[in-house]
Subunit: 371 residues, 2 copies
């Protein structure tokens, strides 16, 4: 844990600006982490990520364990070297993927058995196994195995929480590498009593940081926000808080307003590959015929490579022709936008004007059609 | 034609080094032109092409006419602006694609009727139409409509040649833009009498440069080379010669040895998307299991971004996982290699040591397994 430290630099209301020190560099927070599922942030290269100002990326334990294998990555010098990204990396525990992607899963008190979505082969994750995999991968921040339950099902959440808590203890006991931070995960669906119990249990164990799991998977936004507000009062202020799987511009603003420091989401990169361009207040569907002769950039004031060189008409052509360059250019733009929003949020907190900044997003619909 | 000039700078045997001046810049020859079929060199951006040292790219008239449409590209300011490439561009005439890709084609003396491979709609290319399309696209170098016949069928070639010659005359008469060079195309399959007749007819018309069509489509290599040697004595030395559709490292060396100046080929970019890495003497199939734990670069002495940052094991993982980054990194490497070979050839000619350089390729198999 020696190489890991979190400095809370400034607060503005509940919003926090910090510095997250890791063995591979310091991450200014609030931060958006681009998702590198299979050892690559889809469609872009590490030098692109550097140019975009990404300071930390996420990789998926489930995917890398199945292919190319964590032991292979360890033999090849670890994940940083494997993917040629020498900045900080966070790996999730694989829990979310097992519970959302893998077929034929059977959970018991000791762990979870599942089949690979690639070849149907059978595998088993236990807390100890998931820590071993993440030690092989060698990310700067690793996470405890958790069970992701449907957020509105109380009884399911209550039972899952018992397993998640027992697994957190076992993950903590199993973790050996001192150059990796270990984050605990708070679960409990939309239920205040479960969330509070989870926060108290997990923080009592004591972790380098706290992830908030199981949100934005179908529950009403008001309940998402309610959970975040509750947890803001329960999580220790001197540790980073990571809201898992949420990362639209609005999510960042509203999450930060409730004390969150770290975000990740596949939306900016996935949307790009589907022909969608992110704006601060919504999205542009480039397949729409109205862009066929549009000579303007995606966003007039955007400084990214895509917006300073290419027209909406050209981007639409690339998407319709299924050209890789279309996915690449939209990914660059979408990551540029969300990383820029994260930097703007931090600047606003440091300047004590976060409330005013948040106001500019006030009337925004969340990722709706724009133009 | 004022903006177009070809300076023959040096010769070394039959090998030629030149400078091709166009309205969008000067191209040192011999040159390899990356293929930008649908208005993008597949998987890479214009800034990548610039970084790689590409000096001219090719775009396909057939594809751009069908989608997004040449008139649309004209409205949007022409192809250079559309694809944000401000270097020289050459467009082919669409003939090769119509005769190899489009279904239901019917050729007559006046032109060729075909169906779109995208939506089955019916279209017709005449010499005048193909020039009008290319004037709309606005490339620096455009080409005459030709008919591509199977190279070993004498009677087919004899008849096709009559059409190709009549169409060349009509293309020349139809061409209006003075900021575009027009290249004539020599056809005639593998038959010396037809090739000679074609070269004499087309050079008598007088073009800014001469393309050699209909080769490397199944005929024995010795016959390909025979045609090139024949044409070297028939084409005027003060005009560039462009060997259409050929562009392996060996093709470049052997083509230059027979007086060719310009090359294009989809092989480096297509091979990349299929998981193949180009070497000077063959290719590396990254899907092969032997690379699964290989920590070394594609080529130890290669200076490209891919070889200086990533292992064969990582590249293999990306290809197997069908990640866009795999296609991107292999495309970068393959283009870097073929553009480097073209530069090395030019340097060797300028230094009067082309024969020795060619010797180093002497024992090479043409694009075979390597390692």
């Amino acid at each position: 844990m020696t190489a890991f430290r979190f400095d809370l630099v400034a607060t503005d209301g509940r919003a926090r600006a910090g510095l997250l020190h890791t063995p591979h560099g310091t991450v200014p927070t609030p931060v958006f982490m681009p998702v590198g599922t299979q050892g690559t942030v889809k469609a872009v290269s590490p030098r692109d990520l550097q140019d975009l100002g990404a300071t930390i990326i996420l990789a998926n334990t489930y995917h890398l364990y199945l292919r190319p294998g964590d032991e292979r990555i360890a033999r090849l010098g670890g994940l940083h070297r494997f993917m040629a990204w020498d900045g900080p990396i966070l790996t999730d525990s694989g829990g979310f993927q097992v519970f959302s992607l893998a077929p034929m899963r059977r959970v018991d008190a000791d762990g979870v058995t599942f089949r690979s979505h690639i070849d149907g082969s059978e595998h088993r994750f236990t807390p100890e196994k998931v820590i071993a995999i993440q030690e092989n991968l060698g990310a700067d921040i690793i996470t405890c195995l958790d069970e992701c339950a449907p957020p509105m099902d109380y009884e399911y959440n209550r039972q899952a929480l018992e397993r998640t808590h027992a697994w957190a203890q076992r993950c903590q006991a199993a973790h050996r590498r001192t150059d990796q931070a270990l984050f605990g995960i708070v679960q409990g669906g939309v239920f205040p009593d479960l969330r509070e119990a989870s926060a108290r249990f997990i923080t009592r164990l004591g972790f380098d940081g706290y992830a908030i799991g199981g949100l934005s998977v179908g529950e009403p936004k008001a309940q998402t926000y309610g959970v975040l507000e509750l947890l803001d009062g329960l999580l220790p202020p001197d540790r980073p808080r990571y809201l898992m799987g949420m990362g639209t511009p609005q999510d960042l603003v509203e999450g930060v307003a409730r004390g969150v420091d770290m975000f990740d989401c596949v939306l900016p990169t996935r949307m790009a590959r589907n022909g969608g361009a992110l704006t601060r207040y919504g999205r542009i569907h480039l397949r729409n015929a109205c862009y066929a002769d549009d000579p303007g950039p995606l966003l007039p004031d955007c400084t990214c490579y895509t917006c300073t060189h290419f027209s909406r008409a050209y981007l639409r052509h690339l998407i319709l022709a299924n050209e890789i360059l279309g996915a690449y250019l939209l990914t660059l733009h979408n990551l540029h936008l969300i990383l820029t929003v994260a930097r703007e949020i931090r600047d606003a907190i440091l300047a004590g004007r976060f409330a005013a900044y948040r106001e500019t997003f006030g009337s925004a619909k969340n990722i709706e059609e724009d133009g």
